[in-house]
């Protein structure tokens, strides 16, 4: 337990440092004194407004989204006992993306500003419900297959929307949104997803005991009194709420949910219950760091964070596959 507190404490310190860096870095570097004044004295000069209205909500959003992705990745890898599992596995991310794309496609976002995120959330919950309905009573393999099927369906519908987009701007926006970004998000987006991420995260965080038992196998877990059906539904609902809400405001951001648990696992002796909090913290660190990098890389302001996490994450994926091949009998 002490070791866990040490790891968590270290991750919190790193997260705090990256958080401060994300307030300083941007189109221009702001002096730390300016950021301090903006944060604590509510200064209304331009630098103050940039810090409090643009960079601060962006950093908070990165923490929420990265945390949700890291935590749900850890839970899903433990639940499926599959090291390649991540939030997209259950169709949640694709469902959220589809919901938001529908809002863009039909112009619902012009009716009410937050229609996109709300539709994304509805898509995530709908996709999870469909995954659960298809895969229940069939064991873990059926659930994963159902998730793949739902992901395929949502992806096909997104492609259809791109194919039939009413104008080039809408097609560009759908495509651009799908790349994932934290740019120009505000406190309204934080307020929108905060309750869902907190409730979803809390639902996932209490599953440690069940996931520990499940690491021994489904039958052993059942013999230890773990209700597997209930565990599955709690994972699906928690992931849908946390990741669905996150995806609905940032677009699809891949690999964070895959990477974070893997990096943490050796430090918690591969025990699922000890993996959850550090994975959430590391997910937040990874996404926040990627966001700072996206702002600082001399590629230009158009670099989307989802593209960057994919570029970073793909070599990790390759390494993981090679490692698994070597470990295979």
């Amino acid at each position: 337990m002490t070791r866990d507190l040490g790891l968590d404490g270290l991750l919190v310190i790193v997260l705090a440092l990256v958080f401060v860096a994300s307030l300083l870095a941007g189109q221009v570097w702001l002096p730390i004194g300016t950021v301090y004044r903006a944060a604590f004295t509510h200064s209304t000069d331009l630098a103050g407004l940039i810090v409090t209205q643009l960079r601060f909500p962006r950093a908070v959003l990165a923490c929420l989204v990265g945390g949700a992705l890291g935590l749900s990745g850890a839970v899903l890898q433990s639940l499926t006992r599959n090291p390649l599992a991540e939030p997209g596995l259950l169709g949640v991310s694709a469902g959220a993306a589809l919901g938001s794309v529908v809002a863009i496609y039909f112009g619902l976002t012009s009716v009410f500003e937050l229609t996109g995120p709300l539709m994304g959330l509805a898509g995530a919950i709908g996709a999870s419900a469909l995954t659960f309905a298809l895969g229940r009573n069939g064991g873990m393999l059926a659930l994963v297959l159902a998730g793949s099927a739902v992901t395929g369906l949502a992806s096909a519908c997104i492609s259809l929307a791109l194919n039939l987009a009413p104008n080039p701007y809408a097609a560009y926006e759908i495509m651009s949104w799908l790349l994932g970004s934290l740019e120009d998000r505000g406190w309204n987006h934080v307020q929108l997803i905060l309750p869902f991420v907190l409730v979803g995260g809390a639902m996932l965080l209490v599953l440690g005991r069940g996931l520990d038992a499940l690491s021994l196998g489904e039958q052993q877990a059942a013999s230890l009194g773990i209700a597997l059906q209930r565990l599955n539904s709690q994972v699906i609902l928690g992931t849908a709420l946390a990741v669905g809400a996150a995806t609905s405001v940032t677009g699809a951001i891949g690999f964070v949910g895959l990477i974070a648990p893997h990096l943490v696992r050796p430090f918690v002796r591969h025990q699922p219950s000890r993996l959850l909090i550090p994975s959430a913290l590391l997910g937040a660190i990874v996404l926040l760091s990627a966001d700072v990098c996206a702002r600082l890389l001399p590629i230009g302001p158009g670099l989307k964070i989802g593209v960057l996490t994919s570029l970073i994450g793909t070599p990790f994926f390759f390494w993981l596959v090679v490692k698994l091949r070597k470990a295979a009998p």
Partner: protein, 175 residues
């Protein structure tokens, strides 16, 4: 069939050469000159009534490319009596986020209005609370189609832009 390749016209000098090029190609040189005379007359009027305060105008649609310093938009803004607040050295187009936009200190935000408004996130991107707070009263919508291809009628677009800018121009304070 003869094919004439016409380069894009991003300023009034290029409009002149392109219009003459097309006029010659279709045997309507005199008509091309008449169009250019009318264009130059409008430009002279605009130059003669140039506002004392030069407004910095940024075209902002919240996503994608925005017209840079060598664009027709910048030329029309100049003709209308303002300056384009897009990043320097970015040529015809630039990409920028809201943070850059604020740091460019534009006086006016200009939104390109399409002929047919169809579902698009662009209609929603200008609703950021910070933009509403800072630029709620200093936003204009310009007819995007007239700012895309340089033609003699672009001078008319510059005149309309002048009228739009006049509406949001700060009123002189009484001594």
């Amino acid at each position: 069939m003869a094919v004439l390749e016409v380069p894009p016209a991003n300023d009034f000098e290029e409009v002149r050469s392109v219009t003459r090029l097309v006029g010659r190609a279709v045997g309507e040189s005199a008509r091309a000159e008449r169009l250019l005379e009318k264009m130059d007359e409008i430009l002279r009027d605009l130059a003669a009534s140039r506002p004392t305060h030069t407004l910095r105008v940024a075209s902002w649609d919240g996503s994608g490319a925005v017209p840079g310093e060598n664009s027709l938009f910048a030329e029309l803004v100049r003709a209308a009596g303002g300056t384009n607040a897009a990043p320097t050295g970015r040529g015809g187009a630039a990409l920028f986020g809201m943070e850059w936009l604020l740091l460019a200190h534009p006086d006016v935000l200009a939104y390109g209005a399409a002929d047919r408004e169809e579902p698009s996130l662009r209609a929603d991107t200008d609703q950021h609370p910070l933009l509403l707070k800072l630029y709620g009263q200093r936003r204009i919508a310009y007819p995007e189609v007239l700012f895309s291809c340089g033609v003699p009628e672009s001078a008319e677009a510059a005149r309309e832009l002048r009228a739009l800018l006049t509406r949001v121009m700060p009123k002189p304070t009484s001594p």
